[in-house]
């Protein structure tokens, strides 16, 4: 599938299939606190990705034997809805989803002050309602908002974005077709204030130099996404504080 010459991913003006520049993010919308029962929740639209994240906890560990004496156990489930992709996906967790649950947990845990809640669990659920490349990154961005919304003490928010390569050029934030036909995908999660990376994966083919470019591109984008996260959180708590909570006014932050 890769390097199919019939498909042009970059046109003569240097624009991509969806009209973006090489270093341009897709439109992003975030909304905080949209589920009633969860302790914290968030919804994100990142391009055509539509993802819900919810946090339950800190709550008593169940079953009890999983509890840790000196910190909370953080649990994470990344899951894709059967209708989220072109061909129906079986609802049973795939090996990919199991791996992503692990790396997403490991990307969020550095930000969570789990030492405040010994013997408890903090449960993070990410449901991908529609997938269009970059779901793990958008899922991390949303889950980090849901954690903050649940009032869980955090060192800082976690923002995530992928970079990659198509037709020999390093680009930001791959769409579905760019991911399938492109030459590399590099998802990165950043703790922007301390400028440290909590998730990095890569597949494809990048030279040392291309890798450095792609990493800089994705970390810069994470910082932009972080500003949007702050706005989304502020908007929710601003509305709550003013007592003007209203469905129509609920946080909609456009990129």
């Amino acid at each position: 599938m890769r390097n199919d010459p019939a498909v042009k991913l970059i046109d003569s003006k240097g624009l991509r299939v969806d009209g973006r520049r090489l270093d341009e993010l897709r439109p992003i919308k975030m909304e905080v606190g949209i589920l009633d029962k969860a302790n914290g929740s968030a919804y994100i639209e990142h391009g055509k990705n539509k993802i819900l994240a919810a946090v339950y906890g800190p709550r008593e560990a169940h079953p009890k034997h999983i509890a840790l004496a000196d910190r909370a156990v953080v649990r994470c489930r990344y899951h894709m809805a059967p209708f989220s992709v072109d061909e129906r996906k079986s609802p049973a967790p795939s090996r990919r989803e199991l791996e992503l649950s692990k790396v997403i947990r490991e990307s969020l845990e550095p930000a969570i002050m789990s030492e405040y809640f010994p013997r408890a669990t903090i449960d993070i659920f990410i449901e991908v309602l529609q997938a269009d490349a970059g779901t793990r990154c958008a899922g991390i961005t949303a889950a980090s908002l849901a954690l903050a919304d649940a009032g869980i003490p955090m060192r800082e928010l976690v923002a995530a974005c992928a970079a990659g390569k198509i037709e020999g050029k390093v680009i930001l934030d791959l769409s579905d077709i760019e991911d399938k036909k492109g030459e590399a995908d590099l998802p990165v999660a950043l703790l922007p204030k301390s400028n440290v990376i909590s998730l990095i994966q890569m597949d494809g083919s990048l030279s040392d130099e291309e890798f450095r470019q792609a990493l800089d591109l994705s970390t810069d984008a994470c910082r932009k996404i972080y500003e949007m996260q702050r706005e989304a959180l502020k908007l929710k708590y601003h509305i709550v504080r003013d007592g003007t909570e209203d469905k129509e006014e609920m946080a909609e932050v456009k990129a």
């Binding site: 550095p110 998730l199 890798f211």
Partner: protein
Amino acid sequence: MSATQQFSPVAKLEQKTVVDLILKGKRVDERGPLDYRPLTIMLGTVEKANGSAYVYLGKTKVLAGIKVETGTPFPDTPDEGILTVNSEFVPLASPTFEAGPPNENSIELARVVDRGIRESKAIDLKKLCIDPGKKVFMVFVDVYVLDHDGNLIDAAAMAALGALVSAKMRAFEVHNGELKYKDEKIPLPMLNYPVPTTSVKIDGTIVLDPCLEEEQVMSCRLTVTTDKDDKVCAMQKGGLGVFTPDEVKQIVSTSISKSRDLREKILSKVK
């Protein structure tokens, strides 16, 4: 669901020794920070498999076996053979391994090995097509972890590569979609040779090829797989710590040069 894992309390007591050594630029097994443990690789140890490799990486032991069978291609790649990588953390390898379905660590390992082979296009899968859309060869790579003394990903991937480059399948002809085997044996159609190296961060210091004691005190690890042209083809970060962007860039550069030596060592075994 993926949950925070508990380390054994012994690891916490050993922690200080391991960390103190690393801060002095030394290691528990007297290596330098960027030294790899001795690598021994034996090819063809399991005759019934199409290919096999037994890797010793220090005290870590991993066996990989290749089986080639026929099957139906995936609908989105009707003219390509199928590559499947699986791993087994067999309970005899470590007191922490339990029998049963693969856990997330085992799945992660298999998927990182798989990514390296797939993304570097190590196997020419188009050459494994018999009848497009109907019948193709399937290459099964099964990784058996036999003794866990750290850095399973690198040991597993090198065993998988060794097994693949030494594997033999029956020569075949295709007439009107009919598969006919010939008498002689041929190697798998290999195009590339991906090799990973894993680095870990311990108290702010980066060391290569962690042994088990070091893995138990690491804050995080980064595996970088590079191919024969020095291109990075797969990466995976693990663990609850964080890397700075500069640390990541440094690790990638180190990995590229280290992988060259390891690749040469593996390929020199194949006649």
